[in-house]
Symmetry: C2
Subunit: 496 residues, 2 copies
């Protein structure tokens, strides 16, 4: 019933039948427009299937494999021992008195506790984050970027990277109609971006990555996209994900330089989502936007506004549940920075244990410390396995006709293109489903494998994909890949 | 420089002088309107003063006492041992093998870890929160409310209560101009509400608490307020804070019933901020809105939409840094609930250790468990001391002419009214300051005591107040109260 019909009915029946205050007709319309595929209908069905399995239902599979989300620990990856020791010590400082823990874990915990109000992780921190952690983050960035200086005042600790990305977008969105802020995002994209833009009522401007060239970013395409967008909105922001999610490409230094030049020419605020900065495989190398910006000289480093994001959730640690992250802002107007600081203060502070995890990531054990060798062993194991799995994924998928998979250069996903028979496309449309959603739903029902359809990330019209994480253990991943290939053959035959 | 002037200058100078993308002129105007007094200028000055003291500056005080925010651990309150033991066990499950911890802490940790993906707090949880924790919350609510049933599907775990409050408001705000959603909030209010409404561009509708009657809520005032508001917006939400922040009143059952009746009559969605539900002193008793709603019978319990909020940050545990909380929704339209679930999924999940802390709060040690006696002792100590301090605060303040303090019936703040001499008011205005801000700034500079001016919470025109927490340890609190009284006398004399 529409709001109007409802009001008419109210007039007839009197006040008591007014129904609910909050309905689909009266809800914030921006919220209705929000979509978030990586936790969408397919995942809800996966949860149901798991429940049915637990209750003894007979299925063609014995477990649901969740390859829909970059959730390393859920897929069996073990946490880094040192990180968790420090968390435990900070949570229950009585443990500092015992001999269970190595000295470096204890001294790290003591230092972090000293920086907490009343020496407790239960106190609020400063809204921008604990000062000594922001200092550690700045020093990490300096080491990462070959000595280019980083100011702790430019660091904001956040509740995962998502929180900081949404906050930064919120500052940037203004205007109405043709002056409404436009935000350029890659297609395929990580759906946090489209969701946040819908929520904020901003204009989403799509630029397409070049699938034929390993999902590379092409400045000519950026230019096409911004030029078209200027007809109907005010493009002010360019978002980049590097290493790429869901597409797994790693940008070359040259490409980043071109993007920065483009941002300056077109007067765009740069947002660099760099949460996979340690997830880079084979001969690829991660270059931070900050570093390239400063190497381009003062004409750029003094002018281009940049926010870069990092997180505890990805890389080799995979500590998603801690909700830790940081953002570094460059060339932000001081008045805007004051507004940012005010805005983050409304949510008081990000979780203190997430902040502490972020500290451990940027300030891990050093060669002269007792935990160093274990730490290095654990980290190397994870990263080596990921590199192997990245190669394996590309290799196995590309043996199957109808699946075409770019190299996984970085991050933890593959986004292969799938050819769907016209009859399957028709069948999906008859059922009111997007074809790749139909494909993924069938895969889930028949093989118990949970992927996200490419339509959840965006793809060129008429092409179909899915996103899959490479996080299952190597032996399991092999089986999953083989099952998907076999399913694809069967599915293709069924509709031929 | 305005945007227009800037554009003109650009036209003259060419592109390179365009200046920044993001400035005070181009920032999201709603963000500019956000204010958040409990972390505002006075707190920033307090941080500076602390730094100056550390660097050896000579001040009329040796430490800054932060009585501006309800941050128990920062004021020296000790965490509950059992809670922290379980946190440590969950963070570093190797500890389960040792004999350091009581069995009930271990079994609690094992159960919670089992509910985590891959048995790790590093995995994302379901966006609504870990299922067994939502079940525990529902059972807690049932016990609290004398058996009235609670459905775990109606529980959403959140990043503190603030996060859930903002999410719920976001769903509720729609319309433009005269149809824009209006949200009724008490004056004085907790500034999260005004900040969130500014951010969302909703209309803030003020209703005044009755200071002359212990800050009670008067339905006639609600009616006046909503009637006036209907002239210029669409009032759809009524927010209540009980026990009150900053005003410390506890609502009677009778009052809650009247509020619910009013909400039904006026077709308002009820938001009950009940984060201080354990902070109730002397002969006062906490009644939850949920309980009263259901006791009023199906005419109300089947129709009135209610969201109630709780947090790990207050009560006897004071675990602010964990950022744990929950919301229970009643009579939410199922389609709206689906939208809510979708919306919270965009931020993936609330911090898992915050969820675990929330579980421990709602599911604390029982009489037959080894940790029970220590737990009860620790909890009782905190609550007894708070009750003492509540009484002490009222008593000491009311001995001073010009300070008038209502009883602190609950929560952890006092909001006394201060009489300011006209000359002081004039002096403040000359300096462009709000008079109670001037007063609090002087108190900070001269005594090192950090309070929040009443203007940050709202107050009736021409009256002045401040908010102070009652969290300092009893002996220290006495000194603080006496110092404030002495300052008030001195200040009054200076301007007489």
């Amino acid at each position: 019933m529409s709001q109007q019909q409802q009001q008419q009915q109210e007039a007839v029946n009197g006040v008591s039948s007014r129904g609910k205050v909050l309905t689909l007709d009266t809800i914030n319309p921006n919220v209705k427009r929000v979509e978030y595929a990586v936790r969408g209908p397919i995942v809800q069905r996966a949860v149901q299937l798991e429940k049915e399995l637990r209750e003894g239902a007979n299925k063609p599979f014995t477990e649901v494999i969740r390859a829909n989300i970059g959730d390393a620990h859920a897929m069996g990856q073990k946490p880094i021992t040192f990180f968790r020791q420090v968390l435990a010590l900070c949570s229950y400082p009585e443990l500092l008195k015992e001999n269970t823990f190595p000295e470096d874990a204890k001294s790290r915990a003591r230092r972090l506790l000293q920086a907490c109000g009343g020496g407790s992780i239960g106190a609020y921190s400063a809204s921008q984050g604990i000062e000594c952690i922001r200092q550690d983050v700045a020093r990490y960035i300096e080491r990462r970027d070959g000595g280019i200086s980083s100011n702790p005042d430019n660091i904001y600790l956040s509740t995962g990277a998502s929180d900081a990305i949404v906050t930064m977008l919120k500052l940037l969105v203004s205007g109405e109609g043709r002056t409404r802020t436009g935000v350029m995002i890659s297609i395929p994209q990580y759906p946090l971006y489209s969701a946040a833009l819908a929520d904020l009522g901003a204009v989403q401007i799509n630029y397409y990555l070049n699938e034929d060239n390993c999902w590379s970013l092409d400045v000519a395409e950026l230019r096409r996209s911004v030029t078209e967008a200027r007809q109907h909105c005010n493009p002010r922001v360019l978002c980049i994900i590097n290493p790429g999610n869901p597409t797994g490409q790693v940008q070359s230094r040259q490409c980043i330089e071109e993007v920065i030049r483009f941002a300056k020419e077109e007067h765009l605020f740069l947002m660099a989502d760099e949460v996979y900065q340690d997830n880079v495989y084979k001969d690829n190398k991660f270059h931070s936007f900050k570093k390239v910006l400063f190497e381009m000289g003062p004409e750029y480093s003094n002018t281009v506004e940049l926010a870069s994001f990092h997180s505890t959730s990805k890389c080799y640690m995979g500590e998603c549940g801690l909700r830790g992250g940081y953002m570094e802002v460059i060339n932000l107007d001081p008045d805007v920075k004051a507004q940012l600081t005010k805005l983050v203060s409304v949510s008081l502070c990000s979780p203190v244990l997430g902040q502490i995890m972020m500290d451990l990531v940027v300030n891990h054990p050093q060669p002269d410390e007792p935990s160093y060798s274990t730490f290095m062993k654990e980290r190397t194991e994870v990263l080596t396995a990921l590199a192997e799995k990245a190669a394996l994924t590309e290799q196995i998928f590309n043996t199957t006709p109808g699946i075409k998979c770019n190299p996984v250069q970085g991050a933890m996903y593959t986004f292969p293109r799938i050819s769907l028979p016209q009859k399957a496309i028709d069948k999906a449309k008859e059922g009111g489903q997007i074809p790749d959603m139909y494909y993924c739903m069938r895969l889930l029902e028949e093989e118990g494998i949970c992927l996200v359809p490419g339509s959840g990330f965006g793809q060129r019209e008429g092409t179909f994909h899915f996103r899959m994480t490479i996080l299952p253990r190597t032996e399991k991943l092999k089986i999953v890949l083989q099952k998907i290939c076999a399913f694809h053959k069967k599915f293709t035959e069924e509709f031929s």
